[in-house]
Amino acid sequence: MAKQIVNAPREAVTDGLLDIADQQRLERFLTFEAALMDEHQYDAWMALWEGEDICYWVPCNDDDQDPATGIAIIYDDRRQLEERMMRLKDKTAHAFRPRSRMIRSVNGVVPVRVGDGELEVASSFVLGEIRVGVQNIWLGKCLYRLRDTGEDFRILSKKVMLLNNDEAMPNLTFLV
């Protein structure tokens, strides 16, 4: 799962593709995104996405599965993601009530490709989730496609590769 970093250009893991200030700005952005997910700030999180052609993808079984022939845990375009937001907010979506309490740690933020105002960024997270007396630990790698606005970033696509995506898993009723 770490192959995005393993296969990145050497420069991405030596000097890095961003200068220190931009790298820090990027890490703050991903920390902010994680905080919005932890705090169930759905509208604010949704506002981080840009464009109609977005893709929010959590593959199942295999990180590299072809979505044309393989199943996904989440494979949302903008319309589906907006419907997901409606469900996350809906008091009759029982699996989301009560809401999970979460803390996640984002780390290993490595831009693996930078150009034309866009970045491809690999990162990883550890997520503790507690709901109705049961604590689950979720781990995963992310691969983002971001647009740099100069001030902050916008998400064009996000792929989340869960460590347990080929195992029997409980409900995933929050954002990852």
Partner: protein
């Protein structure tokens, strides 16, 4: 003949015509009896033959308490082998799936082929002439049979024939298979959503009463769409299939099988779905090929039915919408659900991709439907522990069910016929001597 250890429980007293005692969902001893008396005695769904297409392909299964290797042998036959070395008992296969013509036990190196025959004993000279490797092959699951690619197994050599066991449900299985113009399905190896919930396995039933409540959030979203054509949810169109005034029906068959029968409710909507299909080249070809294969009248209804028999085969499999769902009981309060999307053979790629997207939007751990089901099953398990008033009511619609010509009991869509037939079969098997 395997003998059953006598149970101390009176299962007749726990399962009435219109109610069941909550112990059957929570009691560990009853769960042990279920494994022995149901899962190790009746037919279980094993796998779809397309999951192991070539010689050497294998897949691990959990059938009742037993780990089983499904293989495709050199003759092209499917073998179900108990995953236990005949020497000291270690599992000989650990990979969930793959390709191997030999299985070697890494305790002492004994080797078996894809028929289960013992083909290698390390240091064989240490055994005398009375040792015959033929006596020590991997144990075969005694009964294996299939219907249109769906492979079933039983540990009971004297179990009734599969076709008699499935009975009138066979024509519902056809609904799923004949959605392919060449009458063939594909279940892709390793393409499966695996979920688990902290609740009893019998919660996964056929229930036409729950959607308005458990899935209310989904209905709200649908009500904002102009069309739900092609959706994975029961509503292939905006007319509510879960309304008791609709022509949807619930059916209970002998041996505990059950069905939410949407055939009549969907049949009038063939034009809408055909119209949508014909917007694409693959869809046009699909409609034409279906008519060639089945004739116009049957093709139209098959298209309207969307390949969805909505059928539950007791005790461990359901064919719902675009997927095969396998239920694996782990303990009284812990269940795994495996959902395998079904691909149609003989159709354009975009047809299958659309079915896959519709399936995963509703089914899976983060999808629109499954999490709410799992949540309610967990709430039920927490509630059932409180057995001060122990009865669980399954009486809905008893006064309005009737026996259909195919032998099934049929009633309105929200009636609990399905639960009643499941529990009567449960009682029959659990009370067996």
């Amino acid at each position: 003949m395997t003998t059953l250890i006598a149970s101390s429980r009176d299962y007749g007293a726990l399962v009435k015509e219109d109610r069941v005692h909550s112990d059957i969902y929570t009691d560990a001893q009853i769960f042990d009896d279920e494994m022995e008396r149901i899962f190790h005695r009746t037919w279980l769904f094993a796998l779809h033959e397309s999951e192991i297409p070539r010689h050497g392909d294998f897949k691990l299964l959990q059938l009742g308490r037993f780990p089983v290797i499904a293989t495709r042998d050199a003759d092209g036959d499917i073998q179900l082998l108990i995953n236990r070395c005949r020497h000291r008992g270690a599992q000989v296969c650990e990979a969930m799936r793959g390709h191997a013509k030999r299985f070697q036990c890494w305790y002492h190196g004994w080797t078996y082929d894809s028929k289960g025959d013992l083909v290698g004993v390390t240091g064989a000279e240490a055994y005398d002439e009375n040792f015959d490797p033929k006596d020590h092959g991997l144990t075969l699951v005694p009964r294996v049979d299939s219907y249109r690619g769906f492979v079933f197994a039983s540990f009971n050599p004297e179990v009734t024939d599969l076709s008699a066991y499935l009975g009138a449900t066979l024509k519902y299985i056809d609904i799923m298979v004949d959605a392919s113009p060449i009458g063939e399905l594909e279940v892709k190896p390793g393409v499966v959503t695996r979920t688990r919930y902290r609740g009893n396995w019998k919660q996964v039933g056929m229930d036409g009463y729950h959607p308005h409540y458990v899935h209310m959030s989904v209905f709200k979203i649908f009500s904002q769409r102009e069309s739900t054509t092609g959706s994975a949810v029961g509503a292939l169109h905006l007319e509510d299939p879960f309304d008791d005034r609709s022509s949807s029906r619930t059916r209970g068959f002998p041996h505990g099988h059950s069905c939410l029968d949407f055939r009549e409710q969907r049949r009038p909507h063939a034009d809408e779905y055909i119209e949508e299909l014909e917007r694409s080249e693959d869809g046009q070809r699909y409609v034409a090929d279906m008519i060639d294969a089945h004739g116009e009248e049957h093709a139209r209804e098959l298209i309207a039915w969307h390949g969805d028999p909505h059928l539950g085969l007791f005790p461990n499999v359901q064919l719902i919408h675009d997927h095969v769902r396998v239920v694996i009981p782990r303990s009284p309060g812990e269940t795994e659900v495996l959902m395998y999307p079904v691909f149609l053979k003989g159709v354009g790629d975009t047809i299958n991709e659309k079915r896959l997207r519709a399936h995963e939007a509703f089914y899976g751990p983060a999808a629109a439907g499954s999490p709410d089901d799992a949540e309610i099953f967990e709430r039920t398990q927490r509630g059932l522990i409180a057995d001060q008033s122990p009865w669980v009511l399954l009486a809905r619609g008893r006064h309005r069910e009737r026996r259909d010509e195919d032998g099934s009991l049929v009633a309105c869509i929200s009636d609990e016929v399905t639960q009643r037939v499941q529990m009567q079969e449960w009682k029959r098997l659990m009370s067996d001597r």
